[in-house]
Amino acid sequence: MTHKPLSSLCLVTALALVPFASSAQTLRFAAQGDAVTMDPYVVEEVFTSGFLGNVYEGLIRRAPDLSIQPALAESWELLSPTHWRFHLRKDVTFHDGTPFTADDVIYSAERVRAGASDFKNRLAADTEVVAVDDHTVDFITTEPNPILHYTWANWYIMNRDWAEANNIGNADKAAAEESYATLHENGTGPFRVETREPGVKTTLTAYDGWWGKGSVPMNISDVEYTPVPNAATRVAALLSEQLDVVFPISVQDIARIEAAPNAGIKAGPEVRTMYLTMNQWRDTLPGSGLEENPLKDRRVREAIYRAIDIETIHARILRGRATPAALMVAPGVNGYSDTFKRYDYDVERSKELLAEAGYADGFSFTFQCSNNMYVNDEAICLAVSNMLAKVGIDAQANVQAKAQYLEAILAPNMDFGMAMLGTTPASLDSHIALYSLHMCPRADENSAIWAPEDQGQIIAGKSNFGGYCNPEIDRLANEILIETDEDKRNALINEAWTITTEDVAYLPLHQTWAAWGIRDKVDLQIRADNVFDWRYVVMPE
């Protein structure tokens, strides 16, 4: 490009009236944020992992319906309850042409568990990984784990030779020097990174040597990714045909895009469940001025539950694009059952319950909310706060950006009475939801939950910021972990969900729908976990 600035200036006026031309084979795609890094082990975050899933591949992958598919592993078998054997695909090469072998899996297994990797829990520290031959790898665990590979869809395999040649160390967030892997990749996936300007633009091209060619309908040759944090700007860019796919689309903008002649919407429920967590741990409730903590009383929790008119939130704020939830896991997660029903919306009953518990005049507490983490999170928070006011509960909504919000709700601050959060079980199995959200967060039987000196050791219940504690659930969760018989396991899960629902451990709200804005004639598959798989994109020729 050697345009002279002056002549460009003249061109600008001429071009102002010409619609934007685009190559049919280039996918121009925008989302809220950028992939944080090209190093697949540094941050576990949906967008980054999903983005890297087009560049790197794991041993397994999830299909558009989230079912498990073979990827770099062609097949696997359970030799014993603790001994897994994975047979690797043979015709795979990394983007630099190196063939993929068992050694790369061993390297990846080492690196994913080293340093400050965010993906440590993909493999227990004591799991042994052994190369049987160049294309066979064994995983030997100390305890039976029937869902060992469930979380492996975003454990991407890296190339040992490339990593060592480029001095790539552990995935370390506090590194003093930039890692080569932050800006560069060497995956086996269908796309290779061409240029990368973090936060500005990333361009990718299809990898000619990709083993899966022809197995998917994909016809794009290039991808141009731009992060566009501002929702209105994203919509504007889609409508002015500067972009082919944008995500996410706010629910209120869906109608506008559907009405546009040149764009459309694909929307579906997410696998993420939105819920309210109630502080049952503190002895006094933050923001209440009370000596005690009313939220420890089950009746009060049920009263709050019944005071929330989920249908109106669903209709007005989410414009029908959500699925009210009765459980802490969504349909599609193993262990979900539609036999559970929400407590009915019943203001009178709610008031009765409060009166029974001794709070006929209501009380107040701090209600922490985010405004940039979930679909319409701020509006939902305010609506909940307004609804609770009608039964006399003053939930003082404190709406903050993600950084401040997380600081407030994470232990040890726990500076809240109630907070709104969303959860997606990484393994798409109920166990993880029970394990991290419902198990008692304590280092051992005798220590207090969230005791400062124990905080470093807490693993079970580490997302249980409300401090819900029921020994029965702890017992069930441990049984579920090692139960290999599927029917028995599902029965145990069902039992656990029955107890937590009865306890009103949490207040599940809904699964919101994710909406994708798509330029006319572009076809793609959306996934409930919001991962965007470019292999399914078909652009008009």
């Binding site: 490009m1 400050a116 967030k173 003093a176 973090p198 936060g199 501002n230 950006a401």
Partner: protein, 323 residues
């Protein structure tokens, strides 16, 4: 002259140190970076280890000393969020901001000064009144609102201009420019107008006031009495004398262009340092934020120095007294 410069440099260095300290202190308290860097499921142990590794547990003076020492070497550390050296991040983003600021500022000067001169020379004409009302509207409408409206009208309804980004850029090795491609120029128009509008009306009002003031002065009356032509009086005598105060304020305004750039860049998703900064705020990316602030202070100080030097060129009184 040299003594004056040295004095100003010393002052500037002091100012930068203070700004560095404030930047450091303020961002030290702007939220917990660790909460941002890890996933919700990370254990307390790992969080504590990370905090230790980042040096967040060191005493404040130690942290500040390290900060300054590294800053002097152009090393602001790695971005917590992006894992890249902050200096490199800023260097990548700076061209976009500078191009936007300069185009907006140029636009403001190019349109604002003639408008101001006209309104100052003919204060009673209806066009001057129109300019004045327009300028009031310009300083009364918030930048973000103007940006949104421009996007809505020219981007969405008319589809005439891109609504975000820089368009195609050309990498010159040390500088990435959007000014060498049609789409680059196409993309810069709306944000530059948004950013420039406030400055333009501001400069217009300033020039107008100064011209009115200068035209009342004795030497203009004397020049008229000597029969010097109107054009010479207006554009030679009046405008030149107007330039001195206009330069100061306009110089200071360049600083505010950078500040308002944050808003414009965020509305138009312009990939400049302002956008980087606002993203850094929401993720509490301390190294990026403090480096940005220092950079802004540095730019501001340099502009002030430049304005002072320009003074010397324009005003002989200063040139002489410093000899």
């Amino acid at each position: 002259m040299i003594r004056f410069l040295l004095e100003r440099l010393l002052q500037a260095a002091l100012l930068l140190l203070v700004v560095a300290f404030l930047a450091f202190v303020m961002f030290r308290f702007a939220g917990d970076p660790v909460a941002q860097m890890v996933s919700i499921d990370t254990t307390m142990e790992d969080r504590t280890a990370l905090r230790e590794a980042l040096g967040l547990n060191d005493p404040l003076p130690t942290q500040f000393a390290q900060f300054v020492m590294r800053a002097l070497h152009g090393d602001f550390g790695l971005s917590y969020q992006l894992g890249r050296p902050v200096a490199a991040l800023l260097a990548d983003r700076l061209p976009a901001s500078i191009e936007l600021s300069l185009i907006a500022f140029g636009l403001a000067l190019l349109v604002g000064i003639p408008m101001g001169v006209y309104a100052g020379l003919k204060p009673e004409s209806w066009l001057s009144r129109a300019f004045l009302i327009f300028s009031l509207a310009g300083i009364s409408l918030p930048t973000f609102f103007i940006g949104i409206m421009l996007i809505l009208i020219f981007g969405v309804e008319l589809g005439a201009f891109p609504t975000f980004g820089r368009g195609d850029t050309v990498d010159l090795g040390w500088w990435t420019t959007g000014l060498l491609t049609p789409s680059g120029w196409h993309s810069i128009i709306l944000p530059a107008c948004t950013l420039g509008l406030f400055q333009m009306t501001f400069i217009m009002r300033l020039v107008r006031a100064e011209i009115l003031e200068v035209m009342r002065s004795d030497y203009i009356k004397f020049a008229r009495a000597r029969g010097i032509s109107k054009t010479r009086i207006h554009y030679g005598h009046a405008l030149k004398n107007t330039l001195v105060p206009v330069m100061t304020i306009a110089g200071l305004q360049l600083g505010s262009i950078i500040a308002f750039g944050i808003v414009t860049e965020s509305v138009f998703q312009w990939p400049g340092i302002g956008l980087l900064f606002i993203q850094a705020i929401s993720t509490v990316d301390i190294p990026v934020m403090s480096a940005y602030l220092l950079l802004v202070a540095l730019i501001f100080v340099s502009i002030n120095l430049l304005v002072d030097l320009l003074y010397f060129l324009v005003d002989p009184r200063l040139r002489m007294s410093s000899k």
